[in-house]
């Protein structure tokens, strides 16, 4: 079963008498385990697409299916629960909760799922270990570097074992070295956990990690390319994977 399916999806924003069409009749299917990089210049519709797939925005036309469920048939509460179970978000600005420690930030989505405190702690610790932050679990966001904050955010997205993780330009606020390390981390997590990644960016170095490249322009998919020889993660020695 496809993780994500879009059928004839359009999204327009009213602006005076001539609405902006951010996405125009898209059809798209994402499969389990894919590492999809979404390219496109600024304003091409990348964020709009991620928001629709993330069930935090509604299409003007067409249908979005996540985990086989038609989003238009769900209530706000059901959509919240669907996001909680099947979707992980990674934001450009990290969006950690400032008063909580790294561990608590990662625990938080589990507490939304009413997972017991002890179990949530264990799972959050494990997720933070996976992203190489085992030694930083009790730090607050303001005691962490940008790269570390984004890794906390990755752990937060991973900890609920979602179908898909949506990352909207997560490296835009990071320097290029940190960005590269982060990409390697995502690539390795993709291979280890089988979670689908949809990764919006306009950085080219990301492309080498992709198993599939989508390109948007003016709300249309102008390129959909599947790569056979996958990503560089395989070629990086194990010790450095978690950079």
């Amino acid at each position: 079963m496809a993780v994500v399916k879009l059928q004839g999806v359009s999204r327009s924003f009213p602006l005076g008498n001539k609405p902006i069409i951010a996405l125009d009749k898209l059809d798209l299917t994402l499969e389990k385990g894919e590492f999809v990089v979404l390219k496109g210049v600024s304003g091409s519709g990348k964020s709009t697409l991620l928001n629709l797939i993330g069930a935090i925005d509604d299409p003007s036309e067409g249908e979005v299916f996540i985990h086989g469920q038609r989003l238009s048939s769900l209530s706000d509460k059901q959509k919240s629960q669907l996001r909680s179970q099947y979707i992980g978000f990674i934001f450009q600005a990290f969006n950690l909760i400032p008063v909580l420690t790294a561990l608590e930030n990662v625990q938080y989505p589990l507490s939304l799922q009413k997972v017991a405190n002890g179990e949530a702690k264990d799972r959050a610790t494990e997720a933070l270990t996976q992203v190489g932050l085992a030694d930083f679990i009790n730090r607050r966001p303001n005691q962490l570097s940008g790269g570390q904050m984004q890794r906390v955010a990755i752990a937060r997205a991973l900890v609920t074992k979602p179908d898909i993780i949506l990352a909207d330009e997560p490296t835009a606020n990071l320097d290029s070295e940190t960005s590269k390390q982060l990409m390697d981390l995502l690539g390795s997590l993709n291979r280890k956990t089988g979670v689908t990644f949809l990764f919006a960016t306009h950085h080219d170095f990301v492309l080498s990690r992709a198993s599939r490249i989508l390109e948007l322009k003016d709300g249309h998919i102008i390129k959909d390319e599947r790569l056979k020889n996958l990503n560089l993660v395989d070629q990086i020695p194990p010790g450095e994977k978690v950079g």
Binding site: G54, D57, K77, S80, Q81, F89, N95, V99, E104, L112
Partner: protein, 408 residues
């Protein structure tokens, strides 16, 4: 657990704002408790004053007195034999402090040149002195049984007749059998009951002297003083049962049945207190709703994040209401504690009140801190905090997630 911790951390995160909110809640709780406590002390003062100057706790009459007695008081007297029996029955009860007879009638008091209508009360001076502890002697001396012709004159009456201690007056009245009689009385002193209207036309004399004037062995009523006002209902029920069993045709009235003025004042002040309560709570509400709105506004992106990672609208509402609840709880508890200290301080300071309307005595400010008053107003403080957060919380929960996330 974590969600409650998040709420608590957020309260601590903006210390200054939380502090202001706490102050507002405390202000409300403290002012309501102080005002309520002051009113409660005033009610108690009035209640005990009226009980210990005029009404006692319970009055016992011949059956029919309250319905017909005002037309023909002489027909509804308790006669001497029954009086002995009742006195004994009542005195046996452990809640009873004392029981004393009174004979009431209206008469005409004259100094030879002027005559004034007066309400006369024949009393047992020893017992009445214990019961009427709120009756103050304003001139002369107390009445004793030996002063067979002695009389205590209401303060206002004493002044309006321009009397002095030792003055001799004549009291005229219609007797129990309908004829007319007069007796000489000697002014021994002047008294104040605390109620000006009463003091203007009231006098007391020895029961025996009054009975001689009225040609009767009977009394109008027996007044019962209890050890504590709170036993009133219980003793009323006990007595009414006992009297029924003994086949005594009597009727009972409690101080509360008789204290119309007290109830009017209490109702009036309770009404005023309710209005003030609403005003104070509204001011507190307006004072903190703004900070609550700000608390929501500045966390717009956080709200978007919580929603995106799976938080429901209810989750967001719950978060902000929990924060308000924590603030309200702290503010109310502190408010109650400070209010208790302030109330004790003010009471201890013994500040004198201006004389209340209709009263002829003044007294120091006292503020009661009854448990009922404390928890109710503490609860109001808490509720106001929660209510003030409902609108911002609901608004926060309805923000568009994509827009909230863009908010930096």
């Amino acid at each position: 657990m974590l969600r409650l911790k998040l709420a608590l951390l957020n309260v601590l995160r903006n210390g200054r704002r939380s502090f202001i909110t706490l102050l507002a809640i405390q202000f409300g709780v403290i002012s309501l408790i102080l005002m309520g406590g002051f009113f409660a002390s005033m009610y108690e003062g009035m209640r005990e004053g009226v009980i210990r100057s005029q009404l006692g706790h319970i009055q016992i009459y011949q059956e029919g007195f309250n319905q017909f007695g005002s037309q023909q008081p002489e027909e509804y007297l308790i006669d001497g034999e029954v009086l002995q029996k009742i006195t004994k029955l009542v005195e046996e009860l452990e809640q009873v402090e004392l029981v004393t007879p009174r004979l009431n009638f209206t008469g005409l008091l004259t100094d030879g040149s002027r005559s004034l209508a007066v309400v006369v009360e024949g009393i047992n001076p020893e017992k009445e002195a214990l019961l009427s502890s709120a009756v103050k002697l304003t001139a002369g001396e107390d009445l004793f049984e030996e002063d067979t012709e002695g009389a205590l004159i209401g303060d206002g009456l004493f002044k309006s007749l321009n009397l002095s201690v030792g003055a001799s007056l004549t009291l005229m009245a219609t007797t129990a059998d309908g004829s007319f009689d007069a007796r000489d009385v000697t002014v021994i002193g002047a008294i104040s009951t605390g109620t000006r209207e009463v003091d203007n036309r009231f006098m007391r004399m020895n029961l025996q002297h009054a009975q001689e004037l009225m040609y009767t062995e009977g009394v109008t009523r027996l007044v019962v003083l209890l050890k504590d006002t709170k036993h009133t209902e219980e003793v009323m029920a006990l007595l009414s049962e006992t009297f029924k069993k003994q086949g005594l045709a009597l009727e009972l009235r409690s101080w509360s049945d008789l204290a119309d003025y007290y109830h009017e004042v209490v109702n009036l002040f309770d009404g005023i207190f309710s209005i003030v309560q609403i005003i104070v709570l509204a001011i507190v509400l307006l004072g903190i709703v703004n900070t609550m709105v700000m608390a929501v506004m500045e966390r717009t992106q956080e709200i978007g994040t919580i929603r995106a990672i799976g938080g429901t609208r209810g989750e967001v509402i719950g978060l902000f209401i929990s924060e308000a609840f924590i603030l309200g709880l702290i503010g109310s508890v502190l408010g109650v504690i400070f209010a208790i200290f302030l109330a004790q301080g003010i009471t201890a300071a013994g500040i004198m009140m201006p004389t209340p309307p209709g009263s002829s005595q003044t007294y120091p400010i006292r503020i009661f801190t009854e448990a009922d008053l404390l928890w109710k107003n503490g609860l109001y403080g808490l509720l106001i905090a929660v209510i003030s957060s409902i609108y911002p919380a609901v608004k926060a929960s309805r923000m568009l997630i994509t827009q909230a996330l863009r908010f930096a």
